[in-house]
Symmetry: C2
């Protein structure tokens, strides 16, 4: 019988082809018109998990998108149980956002798979599936496996929290592992130990009852696009900090040791420039790029729209304006509280000449993972064996809303066993995933399961 690592290598091409099929399903969770595709991706993944050797595979309906659950308990009651979490839904992607190729037709170029979801998170979660398959196909895994792969991570795991609470017994495990983070470079393995939380909001501003002729009324009506701009402009101070009163109140100060650790291996201005293509950094005065991304909360405009914005000209005075606004939050900040602070401040900023409303769309709690658990040590060894180098610990700027739930509801230590690269372009155009990271990911996951069984 082959070893799991040999099995994975022998089947690497098939695994890649399967990943391509997985990616081709445009499972965009936020778009109502993609609901059938989201379901199709869940069913595709469930079928693949069955083929991989899982004993019990389910597509669990929710009032939103389904959860895929798979279990293999063949290691027996004395062996540890690992809960693997990932998501099969993806962010929206449109050629108009400057993709070089169809976001849902993966192509290989220079060792990367270019497609929406390639890195976030289809490629990473599928590396876990293929690692499990390699173990199950070569004599069985040394640990019991529970896979939970959801379809709503990109909409803040709307229904997963309830599922976790209602199925605490079924989801019992010794450790939770999640492959949905990135490292700055393929040459240096890195483990993300901190994630930001999220409060995603929508700001509406209303002016006149309907669009008006900008000549017949212009100058006498507070233009809601202008009013929205005035409100948005007032949300930051000139020093780059967020001006919402109380916004930073719950942020724990960074110790000099933490700051030193963050900055030692942090993103250089050169790497930042290469990855963003922007001219020069911006942000909260007194903090480095790495601190701004990993250790400080933000308030970001994700989009806005008002009036006429097509080619040509329309001399309209618009009736309304909209902005999507989200805050990334750090440890000890409460998303609901932050929403309330922003809401109250915007109410205060809104002049009597327009009306405004800030709606909360969804939230996710910030999370830390303990770097001193046996599971984390198993992860360190797994990376070491595959990379020949010890992983560093880094903070991530992104959010995985369910991590806090796994920690608090299930009392599980969480390990973020990421296989992405920070330059993968998740959420943007031309998202990509390194083929080598995919295969190293499979090997690292196999290694992790082996290490954890001995810890």
């Amino acid at each position: 019988m082959s070893t799991p690592h040999a099995y994975a290598r022998q089947h690497s091409e098939r695994s890649l082809n399967q990943l391509f099929d997985f990616i081709r399903i445009p499972s965009v969770s936020t778009l109502p018109e993609r609901a059938a595709d989201v379901r199709r991706a869940a069913e595709w993944l469930a079928a693949n998990l069955s083929q991989a050797g899982f004993e019990r595979v389910e597509v669990v309906p929710t009032s939103g998108h389904p959860i895929v659950y798979a279990e293999w308990m063949g290691a027996g009651p004395s062996a540890p149980t690992v809960l693997v979490y990932g998501h099969y839904d993806v962010q929206p992607a449109d050629m108009a956002d400057c993709w070089d190729s169809n976001p849902f037709e993966p192509i290989l170029r220079d060792g990367f798979i270019y497609a929406r979801g390639a890195s976030d998170d289809k490629g990473q979660v599928f590396a876990q599936v293929k690692a499990a398959e390699a173990l199950l196909a070569t004599g069985g895994a040394p640990v019991n496996l529970k896979f939970i792969v959801e379809g709503e991570e990109e909409v803040s795991s709307l229904h997963l929290g309830d599922f976790v609470r209602q199925n605490a017994e079924r989801l019992k495990a010794d450790v939770c592992v999640i492959s949905d983070t990135g490292m700055p470079s393929i040459d240096q393995p890195a483990i993300c130990y901190s994630l930001r939380g999220l409060a995603y909001m929508e700001l509406h501003v209303w002016g006149p009852a309907h669009d008006l002729h900008s000549g017949s009324y212009g100058g006498s009506v507070h233009n809601p696009a202008q009013a929205l701009a005035e409100i948005i402009a007032a949300l930051h101070k000139p020093d780059g900090s967020v001006s919402v009163p109380g916004f930073y109140d719950d942020v724990l100060p960074l110790s000099p040791e933490e700051r030193a650790a963050i900055n030692q291996r942090g993103m250089t201005e050169e790497a930042w420039r290469r990855e963003t293509g922007a001219d020069q950094p911006w942000g909260e005065a007194g903090y480095t790029i790495e601190e701004r991304i990993g250790a400080r909360p933000t308030l970001e405009i994700n989009g806005m729209v008002s009036g006429f914005y097509g080619d040509g000209a329309k001399t309209v005075l618009p009736a309304r304006a909209l902005a999507k606004i989200s805050c990334r939050l750090v440890a000890n900040q409460n998303p609901q509280r932050i929403y309330e602070l922003v809401r109250d401040y915007i109410a205060q900023l809104t002049p009597p000449t327009v009306r405004s409303e800030l709606r909360l769309l969804h939230t996710g709690a910030p999370a830390y993972t303990d770097i001193n658990t046996p599971a984390m040590r198993a992860a360190v060894v797994a990376y070491q064996k595959q990379w020949g180098a010890s992983p560093i610990f880094i903070r991530g700027g992104g959010s995985i809303p369910i991590v806090a739930d796994f920690q608090t509801q299930l009392g599980l230590p969480v390990v973020l066993l990421g296989f992405g690269l920070t330059g993968d372009g998740a959420h943007g155009p031309n998202e990509r995933f390194s083929v080598e990271m995919f295969h190293r990911g499979i090997a690292t996951a196999i290694q992790f399961f082996q290490e954890i069984s001995q810890s």
Copy 2:
């Protein structure tokens, strides 16, 4: 033989049906995909002018949309010649902008025709056509008639100025009459004697080279949507005035007499509230609603767009943002100069963390018409006879870019013989045109041609 007025009454239903057919053609000049419809509207109008009895009718191609030209010189060389100008193109209209019915399928409700272009300007220019027909069908007009109806008024008459310069001889006339303005109420006839000019611009702001993950980079990149908002917010002072240095330099101060005249019959706050549906007026401190609209220049946001603005959430940090910005200008202001002032100020406001560019899309000069010409007296009498009341003189907030060209290139006195109502909702949703104003318009135009022949 019937009189022209009797002819118009006898054919009122047919005229209305023809107007409906004219309106059904979605001749939106700013949308490239509507070019064939714009052409179709030109051809429809040319055919109608031929049927109306014009001797020479042409659809004149330009490098943009065609100009419809029609001539009837049967009054002979000793009779005056009237140049009638109007436009057959319309503003964009979309059900999504809160129309209660299809903007290109006119419906009658409470005495109004609801449709895009009903008032601006198809209904008004068609009243002129039907007045000419009534005269030509009942023994001929007492004046020579030259109709020039363009398809680019809503895009600032891009090619009409050249046409006017190149055809100065052919367009020779004694007076120019334009039906493309409104009066506050059907009970009180009003003649608009002042129009604002226009500088229509597009502001682009670029940040990162492509959309980014708002978690992975948020807080370290100057968000272009935010930067655009910051720039827009800085374009007005808290007192409602435009903060662009030099913006008001060329504005002639209003004399106390002018202010008194403007405000005597000006829009009341109650009428403003009814027409706009907004909560309370806004604008330049120290000026009344009517002065802000008719006598002061403005800077308006006609639209803006950035990032994700659909239903749901996308945690994206957008790469770019766009705003459509237009300035309405008053007498003595130069649109090109205003563009340069705004451009330079925005360049100065733009921080080094983003790039911006302000592009000029088109311009129109502000215009005054002399209220002491024989043509204006003929207009006053024409309104008096149809309304039983003397018209008042008002200032319009809108722009008819070609008026200044007619005055300077052709040396013509211009009369704005408007049949619209200020509450018609031009450029907005549910644009409408009063059926009674349409028929009164035909009668007033007949009367005007008769009066001017005797002046």
